[in-house]
């Protein structure tokens, strides 16, 4: 006859005070400095859709996503992305699309006079594309300001 384990009770054992779970108010997550300004920047430049997608990419896409080779979002690429976003001026009424690349980068795509414009923030490099003037090149990731000046002055 199977023997059932006794039900656990709160007084089965007692944790030392410093191992106790934090009290309820301490469970609030602490935001990184400047994160509120970044949220506003995201909403202003990419709208609620872009804002939601970035949070989705951060939260749900762990290493190996997709068909097993997808990388999680690169902090370096994210930094360059926010710097670019702050400097960029997109055409009136245009809200770029935001995508996650397989390499763990972020990609923005929009149109200017009906022609495709794109910039990808890959870990270690930027990929620039503008159909209108034939731009199709790469830059080091830290040259996001040059990319912003060229693609959306």
């Amino acid at each position: 006859m199977p023997v059932l384990a006794p039900a656990y009770t709160q007084c089965a054992y007692r944790l030392a005070e410093n191992l106790q779970p934090p009290s309820e108010p301490d469970r609030l997550a602490h935001a990184e400095p400047g994160s509120a300004a970044r949220e506003e920047l995201l909403l202003a430049k990419l709208g609620p859709r872009g804002w939601g997608r970035l949070h989705h990419f951060r939260r749900f896409y762990s290493p190996g996503w997709g068909e097993g080779r997808g990388r999680s979002l690169s902090p370096r690429a994210t930094e360059a992305f926010f710097s670019f976003l702050a400097a960029a001026r997109f055409p009136e009424g245009v809200q770029p699309s935001l995508f996650l690349t397989d390499e763990g980068g972020l990609e923005l795509a929009w149109e200017e006079n009906g022609e495709a414009v794109q910039v990808a923030f890959q870990p270690g490099r930027l990929e620039l594309y503008r159909k209108g003037d034939g731009t199709d090149r790469e830059l080091p990731l830290q040259r996001w300001d040059e990319a912003a000046q060229h693609l959306c002055p």
């Binding site: 859709r49 997608r53 989705h56 990419f57 939260r59 749900f60 896409y61 996503w65 997709g66 068909e67 080779r69 997808g70 699309s97 935001l98 995508f99 996650l100 690349t101 397989d102 390499e103 990609e107 795509a109 495709a116 794109q118 990808a120 990929e127 620039l128 594309y129 159909k131 199709d136």
Partner: protein, 124 residues
């Protein structure tokens, strides 16, 4: 055939990085018909609720090669069979491609929307 999931489609635009690589995963219609690919991709590449299959894009191997040859500078685009456990039709476009080529591929590819029954609230 290339599966386009929610990371590469936001309801308005398709990400060209779906074709820039490295080593872009595709599937061959010569092995399984188009209709079977919906189920195949749902099982193989979807990870609900965060990653959902949105579209499929179709382009022939010959067209890919032609796009590569006529691009400036020309590039060789090949597709190599690479059967995997979940998909005997799986293949790979090896290496990386420029954004210019990826945009031309997307422009030339045929888009397939999911069958109506797969979209909640949508009717024929």
């Amino acid at each position: 055939m290339r599966a386009i999931c929610t990371d590469k489609w936001d309801g308005e635009r398709i990400s060209p990085s779906a074709f820039t690589g490295p080593d872009t995963s595709v599937s061959r219609l010569a092995v399984f018909p188009l209709e079977d690919h919906w189920e195949l991709f749902r099982r193989g590449v979807q990870r609900p609720p965060e990653r959902l299959l949105s579209l499929m894009v179709e382009i022939g191997v010959g067209k890919l090669a032609q796009l590569g040859q006529t691009h400036s500078p020309p590039a060789e685009i090949t597709v190599e069979a690479d059967a995997v456990e979940w998909n005997r039709a799986h293949a790979v476009m090896p290496g990386r491609r420029s954004r210019g080529i990826a945009n031309r591929i997307l422009g030339a590819a045929h888009r397939h929307l999911p069958p109506c029954e797969a979209v909640p609230g949508r009717t024929r």
